[in-house]
């Protein structure tokens, strides 16, 4: 076999890692390289250093340590039965690339994952060695996200979480039962337990310090990802699962990754165009649950899917027309958050402003940045939607013509 140079390895192992949607570099708290020997800082807010034409941000050097893998997950380009080219980084190579990219301001840090080679502990140990070299040998204070292998020993998980800012374990598919069909070596129970252990570790690390402060355990928390459109799960089922995951494991994020065609597909999971709009709607619904006070069942029933043509908040409003229009000069914050077209910032500014003045339609337009979507749902000092709110064709006014739905 030909010896791969570093550039070829980088190409293979970045390509192999790109199906993980997580890119966040936020939430690690404040630290910088002053008084240290190396480089690196995090200031709470993530930074996206570039965007590729898929619209996704490039924040971290997202690579696999190796894409050799003994698992046979049907959705994964790196499954043991795929003919994808294989490569493996040496620990030092990852360290050098991370520091070299970081010093040129290409990245916020490293997101390291790996195929499973030999066994879980062997693989996890190699990943921990990279993080350890960056932190201990090079005093690297940038962001590190490590993918945890659920079957790895608690000691290794612990070490990983102490070097990393964020750790993640992917639940992979919305239905746990689907794992048996598409990822036969993975065990949903083991994944759940590993996420539970991480939550306990994070909470123990936050307990008030006695004499010495415990070392920070995954200060940016944990996240997970599920692939959308590979198994038959409906959106209602998916969101209910997310809700459980947020509650059980205190996740910062659940990432939804539209099942994407991969080179060299598996027989059991033929390639298809990725359901990008569905993915987008799921993120919107997820946001409504976390920041807008919506319950899952209000957004979509268990056996239902989200409306692809209009966003879930608008869809909810159209189903609940009796709740509208609302008077922006008197409605509560909770009520305003449910108005299509109003975000949290607009609502907060609206509430502050109306203490001092009566809001008219032009005011609302300046606060909300747009007005057409809002008009049927609000009353202002000089506007009432009248019959507009009851029009049967309201949905059609907002839904784009069908051909625009395709993102291709």
């Amino acid at each position: 076999m030909a010896v791969l140079d570093l550039k070829q390895k980088l190409s293979i192992l970045a390509d192999a890692a790109k199906y993980d949607a997580s890119c966040a570099s936020s939430g690690a708290g404040k630290r910088d390289s002053k008084g240290g020997k190396g480089v690196g800082s995090t200031e709470g807010m993530g930074i996206c250093h570039a965007y590729t034409p898929d619209g996704r941000c490039v924040s971290l050097l997202k690579i696999l340590l190796t894409n050799y893998c003994i698992y046979d997950c049907a959705y994964c380009v790196n499954r043991v039965s795929s003919n994808t080219p294989r490569a493996r980084f040496a620990v030092q190579e990852v360290v050098d690339l991370t520091l070299g990219f970081y010093k040129r301001n290409y990245i916020e840090g490293l997101f390291l994952s790996s195929g499973i080679i030999r066994n879980s502990d062997y693989t996890m140990e190699a990943m921990v060695a990279v993080a350890k070299a960056l932190r201990a040998d090079h005093d690297f204070r940038g962001y590190i996200h490590l993918k945890l292998i659920p079957e790895a020993s608690p000691e290794l998980t612990n070490q990983a979480a102490l070097y990393a800012d964020r750790v993640s374990i992917n639940v992979e598919l919305p239905r746990e039962e689907s794992l048996a069909a598409f990822a036969p070596e993975k065990d949903a129970g083991v994944i759940r337990k590993a996420m539970g252990a991480v939550r306990l570790g994070i909470e123990a690390g936050k307990e008030p310090a006695r004499k010495t402060r415990p070392p920070k355990y995954a200060p940016a928390g944990q996240s997970t990802q599920m692939i959308i459109g590979a198994d038959g799960a409906r959106d209602g089922e998916i969101l209910a699962r997310s809700n459980t995951l947020y509650g059980n494991y205190g996740l910062r994020r659940v990432y939804y990754s539209a099942f994407s065609p991969i080179p060299d597909v598996a027989k059991s999971l033929p390639a298809q165009r990725p359901p990008l709009m569905r993915e987008h709607r799921l993120y919107q619904a997820d946001w409504l649950m976390r920041f807008y006070g919506f319950e899952t069942h209000e957004i979509v029933g268990p056996g239902e899917d989200l409306d692809l043509a209009i966003d879930p908040k608008l869809a909810w409003a159209l189903r609940n027309r009796a709740d509208f229009p609302v008077d922006v000069n008197t409605a509560s914050r909770e009520t305003l958050l449910r108005v299509p077209g109003l975000g949290t910032r607009s609502v907060d500014r609206m509430i502050a402003a109306r203490r001092l003045t009566r809001l008219n339609l032009a005011d609302v337009k300046r606060l909300a940045r747009s007005i057409e979507k809002l008009k049927p749902f609000v009353i202002t000092s000089d506007w009432s939607p009248g019959a507009l709110a009851d029009r049967a064709d309201l949905r059609d006014r907002f839904a784009p013509p069908p051909q625009q739905l395709s993102l291709f």
């Binding site: 550039k7 250093h49 046979d72 809001l359």
Partner: protein, 484 residues
């Protein structure tokens, strides 16, 4: 008309002093003309002598305005100083003007502020350093950057925090920032030709950029929204974008249309996970290990679905005393062990007060999965209902069969129901030995969570004492039975 000449485009301090003066002299916004005269050091022409006393007298503005104005001053709009003075003027009549975000002036200022903030953020993101010859043994880097607004001075400290141990310069058309690991300094604007032409690592970065792109998800509008084209000419990776975009369709079609292939080499697969769910069909387990495995895979009721794991009992297989609680709580569900959360703490303290060594007792729960409901982001305990208790008795009965304790303590109504097979009033029956069908004796008592929840201090102390007393009684009963 009063003309103010500021020292530079970002001379916010000069604007503040002048604005204070003009305000004190009651110069209306329409009468003030703000200009920038970079060459001159003096802030004021002869007709507007600086009068700090007048400037500081009486008129105060909020910190929020100063912060907002400091940001807006960095905007490239020529109207910015005029807008800020107009706001300052209006603040006297309307001190809380800034809270009215719907006001046209405030709205404009907030827009300009957010555009400046975005420019700061994009500068942090899109500066690309190129390595140059090391200076004085220090790694040294130089970048050429064109910020959307005049944010170089405001953003430079970010880079000194991030790269405090390397030397760097950020050259821009407005101003250049220099860091030598000790001090930050600024020099006048530069020319792109002053910056290095390349860096060996850029080829690797371009390789990474091209490889991390998924052609099946082409969404160029989202890319351009976040990475506006004005920045592209200084990004080494951006020249790849047109070709990546052009080829995406064909690459995707090829992937979708290509038939699945057979593995080209011999495959060594990992063993399959045996997440076999143990259901009603299997016979009762004969060891505690089998109970633990069975509980974890149990599907006898739906509680497993939202729980992390089934939590089986813990303790010696030959324990004389078995202690049964209600169900695992939030912490127990995560840790996979009974009584490790807040109720576990109460439990441990009571055990030690009663002189019962926990490691000599078999500690378990009537229901093995955590029943809860989500309230916001928290999981709140929900009392198990009769069908769940019934379904889970299969496991408790198996544990009883294997351990064969002399005495079973049932803590709380759920445990009492499961152990005794019927609803049992704790308050009435606690503190006495109740005969069970399998020759063991039962003692019912309060559940530790009940003690945690009692609001009344006196009632709590009483229940606590009874709880300890019952534990002590059961322990003596278990040991007496052995001696007899």
């Amino acid at each position: 008309m009063r003309v103010v000449r500021l020292a530079s485009e970002t001379d916010f301090e000069g604007w503040r002093v002048a604005a204070r003066t003009l305000r004190a002299e009651a110069v209306e916004p329409a009468q003030a003309l703000w200009t920038v005269d970079g060459g001159q050091a003096s802030l004021f022409p002869a007709d507007a002598p600086q009068s700090p006393e007048a400037g500081t007298g009486g008129f105060k503005v909020s910190r929020a305005f100063v912060d907002l104005a400091g940001r807006v001053a960095l905007h490239r709009s020529p109207e910015r100083f005029d807008l800020l003075y107009r706001l300052l003027w209006r603040l006297e009549a309307t001190p809380r003007l800034l809270e009215i975000a719907s006001d046209p002036d405030v709205s404009l200022a907030l827009d300009m502020q957010s555009q400046v903030n975005r420019a700061v953020h994009k500068m942090k993101a899109f500066v690309r350093f190129r390595e140059v010859e090391a200076q004085g043994g220090l790694e040294t880097f130089v970048a050429w950057f064109e910020p959307a607004h005049r944010v170089t001075e405001a953003t430079a400290p970010f880079f000194t925090r991030r790269f405090s141990n390397m030397a760097f310069s950020i050259l821009t058309p407005d101003v250049c920032a220099h860091w030598d690991t000790q001090a930050l300094s600024f020099t006048p604007g530069a020319d792109p030709a002053d910056a290095p032409a390349g860096d060996d690592l850029e080829a690797y970065w371009r390789t990474y950029f091209a490889s991390t792109f998924n052609p099946a998800r082409l969404r160029t509008a989202a890319m351009v929204r976040e990475m506006p084209k004005r920045y592209w000419r200084n990004l080494p990776e951006a020249s790849l974008i047109p070709e990546m975009t052009r080829a995406a369709g064909d690459r995707t079609t090829a992937m979708v249309e290509k038939a699945p292939s057979e593995p080209a080499r011999r495959i060594v697969r990992a063993p399959r996970a045996d997440g076999a769910a143990l259901g009603a069909g299997d016979g009762p387990p004969s060891s505690l290990e089998a109970v633990a495995a069975g509980v974890d895979g149990c599907r006898r009721c739906p509680l497993w679905r939202d729980a992390t794991q089934g939590v089986a009992g813990e303790g010696p297989a030959e324990a004389r005393l078995m202690i049964v609680g209600e169900q695992p709580g939030d912490q127990e569900d995560l840790a996979g062990r009974p009584f490790v959360g807040p109720a576990g703490q109460v439990f441990d303290e009571a055990l030690s007060a009663a002189g019962v060594p926990r490691n000599e007792a078999y500690v378990t729960n009537a229901v093995k999965h955590f029943k809860h409901q989500l309230r916001g982001k928290r999981r709140l305990h929900k009392t198990p209902e009769a069908p769940e208790i019934e379904a889970c008795r299969w496991w408790l009965d198996a544990e009883r069969q294997i351990v064969r304790p002399r005495v079973i303590i049932a803590m709380g109504a759920t445990a009492a129901r499961s152990v005794l097979g019927k609803a049992t009033p704790i308050g009435k029956l606690r503190g006495q030995a109740l005969q069970l069908e399998d020759q063991a004796q039962a003692v019912v008592t309060w559940h530790p969570s009940y003690l945690l929840r009692l609001p009344d201090r006196a009632a709590k102390a009483k229940a606590q004492a009874e709880f300890i007393e019952d534990l002590r009684f059961a322990w003596s009963l278990a040991n007496a039975a052995v001696e007899a």
